[in-house]
Symmetry: C2
Subunit: 373 residues, 2 copies
């Protein structure tokens, strides 16, 4: 009797040219969900509207027995309960988080995985202890090069049984720019189960895969971590043999609150002729967004939107920035677009920057609109 | 220039036999989301895990200026703000809510709409004013036959521009079994935006389409309501010409917490050989669930699970009931199933009960499992 994991867990693959979304992608889309784009109106995303991506199952954590262990290349291994973490000085940071796979379902050919369109994003106020506080308490030894973070979520992926685990270089883990958090609260309340209750990592400016949820162990290591989520998944590569580059900081993106009202099925928008306010949010993990351009003719011409300045305080400097503009709409059909550029000069491409895993596709959003009298 | 709504809003249709999920269905699945099945472990679904189905956009409600108007065939038209509603005697009811389209994506041929598999369900504690209290204050006239409930959500559906609106017969609206609520709180807090902030209808035992969200108006009418969501959508029919029967009470269903752990992509489950606890929830809008049967051989043989008795108090009598059993698993591949039967004798079919809109498909859940040593 064949009970090998390979019987239920297939290698990654690309969809055929004419292959629509299959049952497995649908099952992921029904579990994980994005931000309904009209919720871009909220500076802080309300509970239940922030995007969620859970690799395996949401673990059933018992906050009474839960512990965070810190070990490996440290002078003083730690075992901390929630009370011990809450007793340490806390900070709150407003952070925009985005799934590395956001935009994947728009790629051609489409990597078969969680089929995000553009909505895998959200912003929350995360409260917790700076990771460097806990690392200083443990005493990181000089030979440590990486901190490995392991969650309580357990499953199989491409034939590999695993607890979800990711690493950060020690310089990032113990750094202040960004300040990595051990977060136990989201928007002022305990973490919801799907966001990592009782504790998660928050790595401001990085794509979501770095923000390990249901965090139960930190191990300092003197060699680079070679776990599945670090060495195999979450790399920009052209083909499976390519070692690729690791996925790290969030690429710039602007999203628009779709104007007017939608058709239920097509989600196409209807507006009335006249001045139509356009608004949305823009962000980048590389630095503040310095420019948002709007096009109402499918990318032929562009005008500048007004962009909220990036926050200079540490509290909100990794949060998205509001932008707004006005479109003088006349009857007809249009494709609206918004394009963000950040302080490092990085901007959004009009077409796709394809890679095998479908990561970091920040091609500009296209919002088809019908304008009526 | 063609700016007719028909250009963006198509008639309902069935997917072709070999047609996978398309871009429009995916866009709906990315916005609306189901209960991750492991969250069946919670008697009350935590915020953000309860299923959500929003036809158009989530409206931006201002609680300061918001009013509920009550008019039509009444003696005393009302305009109530939130403070006036909160000043009335409140009740809290634990209610299991399920989307009428749950199971649609499993139908063959598949009606093209929100592509639910089995996860369009959740249970919450809803707090608010019994609708009959407000109707009594307004004085429903003898000629009134229906109450029409209109939400603030506006959009187009199959070419018809509309505010979402549904009706109930006066006997149901003013009844006590079930007691219909004007709910302003969910699980002890204000309604989240996606669940109807600031006010929604809750009709215990009915499918979700009856629980009008963002409720802004109640009009008593002396003729049956012929609006889109009442007369065209949400009817059990074989073909578009068939007037069909209205969708009302929830059909019985049992769902299982999938045992063991999953593969990321296939969601297939892995368990170790030995006793495997099985647990889940079961519900019916027609009455308490009296029996849950389990099959671990794809439906050839069935055994009874232990089922929590249906609550007799009004507070929880419309909530799902927990069930549990044990499976003695040996290495191999299996399909687990659970089947609920309610006090009226209604049960779940093994195959599909097809209808054109894809409503009420309560065919038993199938959970493929790999058991390893």
């Amino acid at each position: 009797m064949d009970t090998a994991l390979s019987g239920i867990s297939a290698p990654g693959r690309l969809a055929a040219e004419d292959e629509d979304i299959g049952a497995e992608e649908l099952a992921l889309a029904a579990r994980n969900h994005g931000l309904p784009l009209e919720a871009l109106r909220y500076g802080v995303t309300p509970a239940g509207l922030h995007y969620v991506l859970v690799h395996y199952d949401i673990p059933a954590a018992d906050p009474g027995t839960w512990r965070l262990t810190v070990g490996g290349r440290v002078d003083r291994p730690l075992s901390l309960d929630l009370a011990a973490l809450r007793a340490l000085p806390a900070v709150t940071r407003r952070v925009t988080m985005e799934c590395a796979g956001n935009g994947r379902a728009r790629l051609l050919p489409r990597p078969v995985s969680q089929p995000w369109l553009v909505e895998g994003v959200g912003t929350a106020d995360w409260t917790g202890v700076p990771l460097r506080t806990v690392l200083a308490e443990a005493g990181v030894r000089a030979e440590a090069v990486e901190a490995v973070f392991t969650g309580a979520d357990h499953g199989v992926e491409r034939g590999v049984e695993q607890d979800y685990a990711r690493s950060l270089p020690v310089a990032v883990a113990a750094g202040t720019e960004p300040e990595v958090l051990l977060a136990y609260a989201m928007n002022g309340g305990p973490l919801p189960p799907q966001h990592g209750f009782p504790l998660r990592l928050v790595v401001p400016g990085w794509y979501g895969m770095a923000h390990v949820k249901w965090l139960r162990d930190i191990t300092l290591s003197d060699v680079p971590f070679e776990g599945f989520q670090q060495a195999l998944a979450y790399r920009y590569r052209r083909d499976p043999e390519d070692p690729g580059e690791p996925v790290t900081l969030i690429a710039p993106r602007a999203l628009m609150v779709p104007p007017g009202f939608p058709d239920f099925m097509s989600r196409l928008r209807v507006v009335r002729a006249g001045p139509v306010p356009l608004e949305g949010r823009a962000w980048s993990g590389h630095g503040p967004v310095t420019r948002v351009e709007l096009s109402c003719d499918g990318g032929r011409t562009w005008t500048d939107a007004a962009v909220e300045p990036g926050a200079r305080d540490g509290r909100s400097s990794r949060a998205w920035q509001a932008w707004h503009g006005v479109w003088r709409a006349a009857p007809g059909r249009y494709v609206l677009m918004a394009r963000a550029t950040d302080a490092t000069g990085r901007t959004q491409p009009l077409g796709q920057a394809w890679n095998r895993g479908g990561f970091g596709n920040n091609a500009v959003q296209r919002v088809p609109v019908l304008c009526r009298r």
